[in-house]
């Protein structure tokens, strides 16, 4: 592990700092240390340091800056620190920490840079490091893009090791026993005679000495925690109703609020008349807010009832009136003028498509809501000298800055308290609810106000997954796929999303082709073109972002050509694939599913492969065509993540990703009529329920040296594998999501 240690020392400057009653270990950011978010909370005399480990008389705290919205990342981050620190997870407190530019997400920038994840060449690495500087500049403490595992894998372990070695040095100075003779276990330094010195007792002394920064990380063969199934730190609280999500938090003297937003997405409400609402029981105030009106009351239900009683005129949506218009805008984008990127262009696709027998197909993917089960909420309290925000968010830094702008308060006086999230799937990369809660709180200055969206507001005003369309042309020859020309048209998610935060995003948006252009196949004539459609309804990152639609497009297009060639879907994919770690995922699912064996009558098996977020993922879906519709029987998944940090959580996340991908492909879409979402609640946006859930068999592969996250990669292949399986079982090729527009499901 020497190499890892060297890289780490070069990249990060690690240090320690005295805190009240103890010591904290963490990183100084290079070039200019970012301001320490904990300084004010810690009192005077402290220096700037981004903490990951804090040991004081209050106990041992591991600071886990990546937010947890259900993916178990608090536990994973804590385990990475604890592995080196030699503490048990039961001994520590896990704290997400305050928002800080220092907790920037290095891994996110890797995926933003235009190089394939399989490309480790010099150019790729250097562009990634440019992006890295940019990310630091923006201070993006963002949770997303399945980046928490790669981001923390080194940093957190090193922080743990430095803390451990420094505590040993302190123990050595205190006892005179040589460091080499000291060991650590269970949050204590052990002397050769068995005496145990707790970290907590050693902490004040450790704060006074130079930290030991020359550390080498432990060999994986000695790991106690990493690679072992872990109990999540919050599992008992989540199973006993004790876990406090943002929506549950209470602040003394808090009022409750609801909003009624202009039903037409993006339109401004007018002629607001809150006179009836203000007469209703418990109502404190009716306040216009961004995009609509809010009602402050003494109880959420009363606020929601009153919000429904507000009279107003609906402002028109600036977006196309009918879905036909949305689709027309995409159809019109398959033109040379709208080319956004053509990162993949091998062979002579155009020439090959002249005069040959050309197979063509068109695919569609609809807008989709995120609809995490916890609706968005935020508590805001505006006081003379500070603003506090309590909310579940993936973008605490943006929240802080936007609240500062709205209130005119200095940014350091805006305190964001991040809570566990009841799901997100990208939903909490937006902060409209915080802005509206701030406006409400400003209207009753001094009082904390909790704004809770109704499910209807949450779904109808979601910034959805992108609408997308693809056109495939291809040829086959001698039983092989010879040409694949795939064009994908969609509006830019990144432009829409970053635009709401005031950041212009120049240049091509690779999310338009993500999950398609970087697939590790060698096809003689192979072209993937991204077409930039005009911005339509507002869109945002939805679990696996561009790949959520493009994985379906690319893999189904390939599957169609393989069938046209008369080849076996598994063998032909393997033949075309050049990337070894990716091949192994396909080989794994072939073995797991006993590919090629007879499934019996009315059954079918489909395979799909999509690399997204650097994770090659293969899935096989088995279905039965019953008289009442398609039943999904079984799914096999293999994914290459370099290192499975927690096999249990890995298994859970992969299954969740498959359920997510299949469920939305089966029966979900958001459609707009005159800008108003037609789907208002789960009755019309159901996704998968328990009875429809297939048995899912999961295998994590560790053939690559890159550590990758698993939150998103299982999603893109799921829809494709299902469509391919339905084709195998029925002969019906489904090219449009949701599939239930074309076929029934049991």
């Amino acid at each position: 592990m020497g190499k890892l240690g060297t890289i780490a020392r070069r990249t990060f400057l690690i240090g320690s700092v005295a805190v009240a009653g103890g010591v904290a270990f963490g990183y100084y950011m290079y070039k200019r240390p970012a301001a320490n978010p904990l300084l004010e909370e810690l009192g005077e005399g402290e220096t700037a340091l981004t903490e990951y480990v804090r040991i004081s008389s209050d106990g041992i705290t591991l600071i886990t800056p990546r937010a947890d919205k259900g993916q178990g990342v608090y536990s994973m981050q804590a385990a990475l620190i604890a592995e080196e620190l030699d503490v048990e997870l039961e001994q520590v407190t896990v704290d997400p920490g305050p928002p800080s530019p220092a907790y920037y997400n290095t891994a996110l920038s890797e995926e933003a840079a235009p190089f394939r994840s399989t490309d480790d060449g010099f150019a790729a690495e250097s562009v990634r490091s440019v992006m890295d500087v940019l990310m630091k500049f923006l201070g993006m403490q963002i949770t997303g893009g399945s980046t928490s595992a790669p981001d923390g894998y080194q940093k957190l372990r090193i922080a743990g090791a430095v803390a451990r070695e420094t505590l040993k040095k302190a123990a050595s100075q205190k006892t005179g026993v040589a460091v080499a003779d000291l060991t650590t276990e269970g949050g204590a330094v052990l002397l050769p005679d068995g005496t145990s010195l707790s970290y907590i007792d050693l902490a004040p002394m450790a704060a006074q000495i130079e930290p030991v920064t020359e550390v080498s990380l432990r060999d994986p063969s000695t790991w106690r925690l990493i690679g072992q199934p872990m109990q999540r730190v919050d599992i008992v609280d989540k199973s006993t109703g004790r876990l406090v999500y943002g929506i549950d938090h209470k602040v003394e003297g808090m009022l409750h609020a609801a909003v009624k937003l202009n039903p037409a997405q993006g339109g401004e409400m007018s002629a607001i008349d809150g006179s009836e609402a203000e007469k209703m029981r418990g109502v404190v105030k009716v306040v216009p807010v961004k995009g609509g009106v809010g009602v402050i009351a003494d109880n959420t239900w009363r606020a929601m009832q009153a919000a429904e009683a507000v009279k107003f005129e609906t402002g028109p949506s600036p977006f196309p009136a009918s879905m036909d218009d949305h689709w027309s805008a995409l159809e019109a984008s398959f033109v040379e003028d709208a080319v956004d990127s053509r990162q993949r262009d091998e062979g002579d696709t155009a020439a090959r498509l002249e005069g040959a027998e050309v197979f063509e197909a068109e695919y569609r993917a609809p807008y989709l809501a995120h609809a995490p089960l916890e609706p968005v909420s935020a508590i805001v309290q505006v006081q003379d000298d500070r603003v506090d925000v309590w909310t579940g968010t993936q973008i605490p830094r943006f929240v802080q800055s936007n609240v500062a702008d709205l209130t005119g308060m200095d940014i350091e006086k805006v305190h964001v308290h991040v809570f566990m999230m009841g799901g997100s799937f990208g939903h909490r990369l937006e902060d409209e609810v915080v802005k509206q809660a701030t406006q409400l709180a400003m209207a009753v200055k001094g009082k904390p106000v909790k704004l809770t969206y109704s499910r209807e507001e949450d779904m109808m005003h979601d910034f959805t997954r992108q609408i997308a369309m693809a056109r495939m042309k291809g040829t086959v020859k001698d039983g092989k796929v010879e040409t694949l020309d795939l064009g994908i048209a969609m509006p830019s998610v990144v432009v829409s999303q970053m635009g709401r935060q005031g950041f212009p995003v120049p240049g091509p948006d690779l999310q338009i082709v993500a999950g398609a252009w970087e697939q590790p196949y060698r096809i003689p004539n192979y072209r993937v073109t991204g077409y930039r459609a005009p911005q339509l309804a507002p869109i945002s990152s939805w679990r696996s972002v561009g790949a959520s639609s493009n994985g379906f497009f690319h893999d189904c297009a390939l599957d169609e050509l393989i069938h046209a060639a008369g080849a076996d879907p598994m063998e032909e994919r393997l033949r075309l694939m050049w990337h070894d770690a990716s091949r192994k995922t396909l080989e794994a699912v072939a073995e797991m599913s006993n590919w090629g064996s007879d499934l019996g009558a009315n059954r079918g098996r489909g395979v799909a492969f999509v690399m997204s977020f650097g994770v090659p993922t293969a899935e096989v879906v088995e279905v039965t065509n019953t008289p009442d519709g398609i039943k999904i029987d079984k799914v096999y998944v293999a994914a290459e993540v370099g290192r499975v940090i927690d096999p249990l959580n890995f298994d859970n996340l992969v299954k969740g990703g498959v359920v997510w991908g299949l469920g939305h492909a089966m029966n979900c879409e958001i459609t707009y009529t005159d800008g108003v979402a037609d789907q208002t609640n789960y009755h019309a946006f159901e996704a998968m329920r328990l009875y429809q859930c297939p048995e899912i068999e999961v295998r994590g592969l560790e053939n690559s040296d890159k550590i990758r996250g698993i939150g998103e990669p299982p999603v893109p292949p799921a829809a494709a594998a299902l469509a391919n399986a339905i084709y195998a079982a029925t002969g019906q090729r489904i090219r449009e999501m949701p599939f239930n527009k074309h076929i029934d499901f049991v």
Partner: protein
């Protein structure tokens, strides 16, 4: 009105038609019961009324004055877990965890009626509780484990 929640009597001053969900959450501060949809589509707000699972977003406070209301907090505590909660922990069911209070309350009520459920029974009983994270495979396993424990008890 008086409400009896988790064995404790509370005086609340609310409209008769306020859904029990919001009385519990906003008036009594009992937040293990979750708001997810408000229309009986998700099951996150499930409580027991006299031992039977009920969606607390659907039942009005005025309807349950004489009833015994149990929320997840009253089902079992970390130091004295209900068999369903133990099974949920053993199988590490939760991801985000937001639906799990309702899932657990539904499962506990179901197993009280039928402690020898077949796989099909479990599908029938648990499909009205929505989980957006997709923990369904683990929910199935945990219900089976809990049933076994309850039969043995």
């Amino acid at each position: 009105m008086k409400l009896s929640v988790n064995g404790k009597s509370h005086d609340v001053d609310v409209e008769n038609d306020m859904p029990l969900l919001w009385v519990l959450r906003d008036e009594l501060g009992i937040t293990g019961v979750k708001y997810g949809c408000g229309i009986a589509q998700c099951g996150a707000c499930t409580v027991h009324i006299d031992g039977q699972a009920v969606r607390s977003c659907q039942i009005a406070a005025g309807e349950v004055e004489d009833a015994e209301i149990t929320t997840i907090e009253g089902l079992g505590q970390p130091e004295a877990l209900h068999a369903v909660q133990s099974a949920w922990i053993e199988h590490q069911v939760a991801q985000c965890g937001y639906c799990q209070s309702g899932q657990i309350m539904q499962a506990a009520s179901f197993l009280q009626l039928n402690d020898e459920p077949t796989d099909e029974d479990i599908d029938f009983a648990m499909s009205a509780n929505l989980c957006r994270c997709g923990t369904y495979p683990r929910i199935r396993e945990a219900v089976k484990t809990a049933a076994k424990t309850l039969r043995g008890a």
